[in-house]
């Protein structure tokens, strides 16, 4: 591998006294730290009265999660991600195993079983599973990269993803389940699966949605909980029933809209301050940003996400191998999907699903998972840079 001492000595020998180059991506790091800072600032305003006598309870905890996450990221960045390909069966087993375990031993919160209580934190397998799935699918696709045009490959990849997604959806956590599907599609796309396969899949999903939401209930079968149906359809007509399912969307819209250009400030953000805005430290934190800091604040947060996405795209191109590119592509889909679904939910253009906003939403599971993903991206970046260097050298040498 390129990290061997021999390789390094070759580098030094050919280049002489090299200018120390950053192997990891500083912009990716900057975007992550910026988002954590935005999260802390928003949480400080939104949760200041939530825990009596400790206004910074959630801020402190969120920063703590982020610090642990950053350490995790740097640790992962030091290792070569390529080795993980060998463990794909073990990783997939872990993914399925944990999600089965949560159904048996999970603790119930808000009517769903999503967490496995551990001594130090609650493990949320569905969150952690996103990254596992990216790795597994990327590894699987790399193995079959010669048969990508085969319908068989596409079907197998989708089956792997859907099996995991199904386990997550019955927890029930529809939002995260759909992230799995998005990740699978992205991995296939980046790998270069034929367009007709992907088009066919999209068509299948459309038929499935019609079946689940319209056809099955019409014949008396209810595959989704009523609240899920309400949430999925509520965004289409939010003012239809202000106190019920679309209540959240309405409050979120009012919160964001009332923020106007520069926001209402922490003191006057009534939607947030009076707890009118639901789940304001987790799923609806973006609405709190919109109300408190206005379009300007929301634009800052979105710009940081844009930076994150841009760097991820760039890392796809920098990857030293297909595995890296596919991992980066899967992570890109994961991040982009979560940001769009979450922000879209708060601004009323997407249905309500419990998808956290990466690095902004309060919660250890989401923060750790995101930093895990960023660690992999950094690792791909580092490896790509090193490979580039060696390639450049080898060209000179040959």
């Amino acid at each position: 591998m390129s990290t061997t001492p021999i390789q390094r000595s070759v580098d030094e020998a050919t280049r002489g006294p090299v200018r120390p180059r950053l192997l990891f991506d500083p912009w990716l790091l900057l975007a992550a730290i910026g988002l954590v800072a935005c999260s802390a600032i928003t949480l400080k305003g939104a949760t200041r009265t939530l825990v009596p006598n400790s206004p910074y309870y959630f801020v402190e905890r969120q920063i703590g999660f982020a610090v642990v996450g950053l350490v995790l990221m740097f640790l992962i960045a030091r290792f070569d991600y390529s080795r993980l390909r060998e463990f794909k069966y073990g990783l997939y087993g872990l993914l399925i195993g944990l999600n089965v375990l949560v159904l048996g031993f999970g603790s119930v919160s808000h009517g769903s079983k999503r967490w496995i209580p551990l001594p130090f934190f609650n493990l949320q397998p569905s969150e952690f599973g996103k990254v596992l799935l990216v790795l597994v699918l990327a590894a699987f696709v790399v193995d079959r990269s010669r048969y990508l045009g085969n319908r068989d490959t596409t079907a197998r990849v989708m089956l792997l993803a859907l099996a995991a997604a199904a386990l997550v959806i019955i927890q029930p956590d529809l939002g995260t389940g759909l992230v799995y599907v998005a990740v699978a599609m992205a991995v296939l796309f980046v790998a270069g699966a034929p367009g007709r396969h992907l088009g066919g899949l999209i068509g299948l999903f459309a038929v499935a949605i019609v079946l689940v939401l319209v056809a099955a209930p019409a014949v008396g079968i209810h595959p989704l909980h009523q609240y899920q149906v309400d949430r999925l359809t509520g965004f289409i007509n939010p003012s239809h029933d202000p106190s019920q399912s679309s209540y959240h969307v309405n409050q979120s819209l009012i919160a964001i809209g009332s923020g106007q250009k520069t926001g209402r400030g922490v003191q006057h953000a009534t939607q947030t301050g009076l707890r009118f805005l639901p789940e304001q430290r987790t799923d609806f934190i973006f609405a709190a940003v919109g109300e408190t800091y206005g379009f300007a604040g929301a634009a800052v947060v979105l710009s940081l996400y844009a930076l994150l996405i841009w760097r991820t795209l760039r890392i796809i191109t920098l990857a030293k191998n297909l595995f890296g590119a596919l991992i980066a592509g899967g992570i890109l889909a994961m991040l982009l999907w979560q940001v769009f679904v979450n922000v879209g939910m708060t601004i009323g253009i997407m249905p309500i699903t419990g998808v956290p906003l990466p690095l902004m939403s309060y919660g250890g599971a989401s923060v750790f998972t995101t930093f895990l993903a960023l660690g992999l991206l950094q690792s791909i970046h580092v490896q790509g840079r090193i490979a580039q260097g060696s390639k450049g050298r080898s060209l000179v040498l040959s």
Binding site: S243, G257, S258, K261, F340, I349
Partner: protein, 682 residues
Amino acid sequence: MIPSNDDRRTPITPQMAMRVAILGGVAFALFGIVFFRLWFLQVLSGDQYLAQASSNRTRSVVIQAPRGQVSDRNGRPLVENRRAVAVMVTPSRLPKDKAKRHADLVRLSAVLGLSTKPARCTSGARDLRDTTPRIDLECRIDIAVYQLPYADVTAKGDVSRAVYGYLAERQQQFPGVSIQDVFLRSYPYGSIGAQLFGTVGQVSAADLRSPHYRGVKGGSVVGKTGLEYSYDQYLRGVNGAQRIQVNANGRATGAQQTVAPKAGNDLRLSIDLGLQKAGQQALATGIQLANGNGNPADAGAFVALDPRNGQVLGMGSAPSFDPNTIPKLTRAQYAAKFQSKAGGSPQVDRATDGLYPVGSTFKVVTAAAAMAAGKISPGTPYNDSGSFRLGAQVRHNSGNASYGTVTMHDAFRFSVDTYFYALGANLNVDPMRNPNGGALQLWARQFGFGKTPAVDLPTSTSGTVPSPRWRNDRNRLQAECVADLHKSQRDRKYRRRFKGLCAYADGSNRMWSAGDNVSLAVGQGDFLATPLQMAVAYAAIENGGRVVKPHIGMRVTDARGGIVTSVAGGSVRTLSIPNLPAIQDGLHAAASEQGGTSSDVWQGFPSQYQVYGKTGTAQHTNQPDQSWYVCYIPDPVRPIVIAVTIERGGFGAQAAAPAARLIASQWFGVKKVVKAGTSHTL
């Protein structure tokens, strides 16, 4: 390491570049959608959403539980609830800027008709550190925040529709001001029984620590005085909570998670509304009679008891007030009306808290004590010369009358003072060996004097039964006070505080003497009692010696009429009064026989109702005599004890006795005739 198949490919193929570009395009499009949507929401429609946000206020609102209704013994409502609109201020939501906050509160005060003149702001117990003058509302908010942070402050408890409309339409201009529907007490009969019911108000920080208000949440309305206080645990109910959405007009547009309030239980009193009304009317008549005689009477009290069980049938105090008007008063108006001397202290229930010398009405106790001590029997003759000499001191009968040889019968009939003076002197004991006094003090205490009656009102008025020990205590207190006063004369700050406050004794430092006992024998000297104590004592004379526990509450019922609790009367103790019939006979003679002190007052009263009554004329230093009358009518079905007193009303027969007749007439459904007596006895 063996290079795997993918390691051989060039890192970026044109196809891969294309795919990345497509992904980038998708991401760009998604971000674009989000940005445009945000632009539309926040910049283009921001005003509209801001308006919605400010009207779309949701808060967890306490739904005040209506307090229970209070009704008379026949179920006629005396205290009800009415809905009103209160203007509340949430201190934490007022402008932070001092000047702006002041301007806002001045504006609000002007709208509410509150004083906008800055004045010194003191919080009673502890002064606020910042003593800059501020307007009334500011002062109250500052004190409230100091005492009970986070609670809303009632700016005004009962506002008109016009003010309600004005504020509702201008909610934006009054940040931190809200309008709430509240229940206020309403009193359909105005001033009738006003002192009994007492007041309700927001629970204070000190209240919350008291076991009496256990389980009450901050901000709740609780009974503060009177029956509202005594029966608060039954009357108050349980507040509900509601998360409501309110639009700009202050109207609820939606509600979630409602916990319904539980109304308080109802209280049935033993008070008879008709008798209560008649009693208060009788006081007015008594005051009028006294004024007609040139006595500057302006206050009085009456108590009507059922002597069998201590049920209070009527209890009133003059002057009275209409409690309906209180929520509308500003603080200054309230102070002027209720807290100044000139206002006549209408909120004081003189029946339970008025402490007076009782004059000759006390003589029943003296007679009982003397007979119990074996000093006399009913037939023991006493030769009245018109005066009684004790050492150098000579006391005369009222009007210097002389009655010759009298027994107990005539002593009561004519209210012969010398007879009782002699008993007083006879009952005096060695103050060194009996610091608590002799039989007279013992029996006075047995009848319930000198101790707070076990009444269901928050009163602590006990009165005074003077004894050698009591006199020594007072002398000591006086000496200490005077010493403090002398000390303070070196310190100008203290001099003002102590000035005129040393009134524990006359300062002569004299010891207990037989003269004290002589004065006590006729309810004078240092003896002090309330009209309620007198009624209880006479109830014991009527019922054969049972000292009853007077009570106004009869039972508590829930919404469905089921009995939650019944108030048991019972008695404190039962006295064995030797020759009780002789005392009763004397009282009967006084009210019915020729020459009896109140016989002319009862002239023409139906003979099936035999009246047993005693006049009293209590003498005060530096002010006109106080008119007293205590009587009972031992009807087998509806027995009643009536005690009436008219402050500065003159002789007992002139003002209090005619009032008592009016009350008795109401109770027995007899034509009301006002007959002022002519007896000039004390």
